[in-house]
Symmetry: C2
């Protein structure tokens, strides 16, 4: 039986839609991966009586109540004083918290404001304060009748750092949770239903402590195998054995054995094989380029891109033949192959990726409906290409999907390259 | 006094963090812009007793309860049958809903599944079904004791379409809300505090039915002036008069008089002046290109881009002089100006935009710390450039900010261009 958690996010900005609450999804994921079950998320305004009612309800229904937000300098008092009222306690000065405020303020090259900063180091006497490694507001840990309440800052990186390093480890210890193990596989080339059908027999024989989750991502599916057991090593061996069976079943369709973004699968491979890459994009308009340059250190494999949004640039810059463009048009196998070869030559790289298609919502014809997109990958001697039919449901989704498919095609090409 | 709304979002995927709930922020924004006040958002699992408890609580505290999700084919029964239980009613077949299911299924080029599709057209007898314009699950409108409950699909575009066209107009009518008017201004060139200081005196004299909201967006601030009054025309005149005063105060810093994305401000101007554009990007890696090609119809003004992630491409493709790169380096005024001029010439466009800098987290020096980014805009005869110092807090934020600053610089350049 998992311990129940309720998350309460505090802030007027959440209710008027100025800020999307991404904290609770992050917390929900981290908690369920660590053996806790989130049974409600509640967003409420910076209002004392509302805060008190919500805390009381959550404490009735759950073993753990996690609060985020409402600790900023302007509304500092509301959350902390509400907690004092709920736990019948009062604010006291905490020296380690004050030292931490100093460290953070000085790290930003700022001066201390004595009154304001002293106030940030005041904590309810009934709690155990935990140092906020990335900010000034201390994390407040309360225990009452075998239950726990933790108040966390609302700034995402501060909350994530505190959850990962302090709160989750302490919760696991407090509730004596069994060990959780999990492995995520990235599967490309099957839709969710086709994949479910393909692995149905395997899924049926999955031993009881293990659970399978399908996380479809549009162009690929994440498969998560997880389990909890007191014997950590045995659990790990059990998962490894199931992953091996899946590998036999799915072969190359498993493109990664960890929870990783598609572009990272490609760029890790490029780094390992010391290959350089460039892109020539039409309808994806620079999306693949943005993916390749998104992570630090990209300059070791990524040299550049051409976005050729018009035929003139396809011809003048990438060297696509005028005759080709006239005869078969920009959205064709010949054009997209010449684009890949052209950018490879222009930028002097080992590999070139290209895309040309109709992202929509307009521009489709009977022969080439919206969503017809060609992708290609080449080096100096070879070129491979593929036609996608993505339909007309969303321009942005078509752009996204075409970019991810091109990245997977390049990954396959790089793998086979000597 | 505004009418209170509670939003309940239903779905296991929200609690395990597989999906971020963006629906409730969207609804919160739309509702508060239309004179309603959201006082709680609750996310709960696909569990009947939990759904019933949450609905009962929400009905106690609010005038309007909005439900999203839990209407998919796999868990169809849970939300609809829970609602039947709550309102003591039963499911009946609804012919118009069935016709709509047919229309949607055929529109996707799919065949009807008689049993499943008939089930989708079953609605609680106590409700008024509203046709879902973009999907198969009908919207369910319930009234009880001067209060309203509406069950909406969880698919974002279906929910947004139904809220905009059906639910909000009906709520305004049902509760006889006074008219809401608002105008959003986009202000560029002031941080939030500097702007607040600059317009402090004006803000103080703002007449009482009007309210001001600062919505900082990183590179710019959205200022929203709103008010509600039964006299729609008088309210509109009052807002217009205040906007005029602000224009005198802020001048060119107001870059738009509507709630619009920065790239749309630029591309609308390009279309109006029939100017074409190309980009040459280094550290932004294609982000500006992606912005320019994001919206349908971009090909009328956008010709293409070069991402020159290495010096070789800056020289060979964009024509930046080798001597310049050696003498002052890639992150310099001279290089970025030559990049803008180079891409303008290469792609034969009226305007070229360029960016070169150190996005971080590595690559900084004492003279050029991380966050040093040059941007430039040129045509055949002129070039303007600007140095940004964005610091080392986040690579992705630096890329984003540099792209937006370059878009604003191009907008200014295009405005002044004959």
């Amino acid at each position: 039986m998992r311990n129940n958690v309720e998350i309460i996010t505090i802030g007027d900005e959440l209710l008027i839609g100025q800020v999307v609450d991404t904290n609770s999804a992050w917390m929900g994921k981290a908690l369920s991966e660590n053996g806790f079950s989130v049974n409600q998320i509640t967003s409420i305004p910076d209002d004392k009586s509302h805060i008190l009612t919500s805390i009381a309800n959550a404490f009735n229904n759950a073993d753990v109540v996690l609060l985020t937000g409402g600790l900023g300098p302007t509304n500092d008092d509301i959350t902390k004083t509400s907690l004092c009222e709920f736990f019948c306690t009062e604010l006291v000065f905490d020296e380690p918290s004050y030292e931490n405020v100093k460290r953070i303020i000085h790290g930003m090259g700022k001066e201390m404001d004595n009154e304001l900063n002293r106030q940030q180091a005041m904590v309810p006497q009934a709690c155990t304060p935990i140092i906020n490694r990335e900010g000034t507001a201390p994390i407040l840990w309360f225990e009452r009748m075998d239950k726990v309440l933790v108040s966390l800052p609302g700034v995402p990186h501060e909350m994530e750092c505190a959850m990962t390093n302090d709160v989750i480890p302490r919760l696991i210890e407090f509730f004596e949770r069994p060990s959780i193990q999990q492995t995520t596989l990235i599967v490309h080339g099957y839709g969710e239903s086709a994949l479910a059908l393909k692995i149905a027999n395997w899924e049926e024989q999955l031993p009881s402590p293990l659970k399978l989750a399908y996380l479809p991502q549009g162009s690929y599916v994440k498969l998560r195998i997880s389990g909890e057991d007191s014997d950590k090593e045995a659990l790990k061996r059990m998962i490894d054995a199931e992953v091996e069976k899946l590998t036999t079943l799915l072969g190359n369709a498993i493109v990664a054995y960890e929870d990783i973004e598609p572009e990272k699968i490609l760029t890790n491979l490029l780094k390992k094989k010391q290959l350089t890459i460039a892109t020539a994009e039409s309808c994806t308009g620079g999306t693949i380029a943005t993916y390749l340059s998104k992570h630090p250190g990209s300059s070791s494999f990524y040299k550049g891109s051409v976005v050729s949004y018009c035929n003139e640039v396809k011809h003048n810059v990438l060297g696509v033949k005028e005759e080709t463009l006239e005869r078969v048009g920009a959205v064709s196998q010949e054009t997209v192959e010449q684009m890949a070869q052209g950018v490879c030559k222009l930028m002097n790289t080992d590999i070139g990726i290209s895309v040309s298609g109709i992202a929509g919502p307009d521009g489709g014809t009977d022969e080439q409906p919206v969503g017809t997109i060609w992708i290609a990958v080449s080096d100096a001697t070879q070129v491979v290409s593929k036609k996608l039919q993505l339909g007309n449901s969303s321009r942005s989704r078509n752009i996204e999907k075409a970019a991810i498919e091109a990245i997977f095609l390049a990954k396959e090409f790089a793998e086979n390259k000597k």
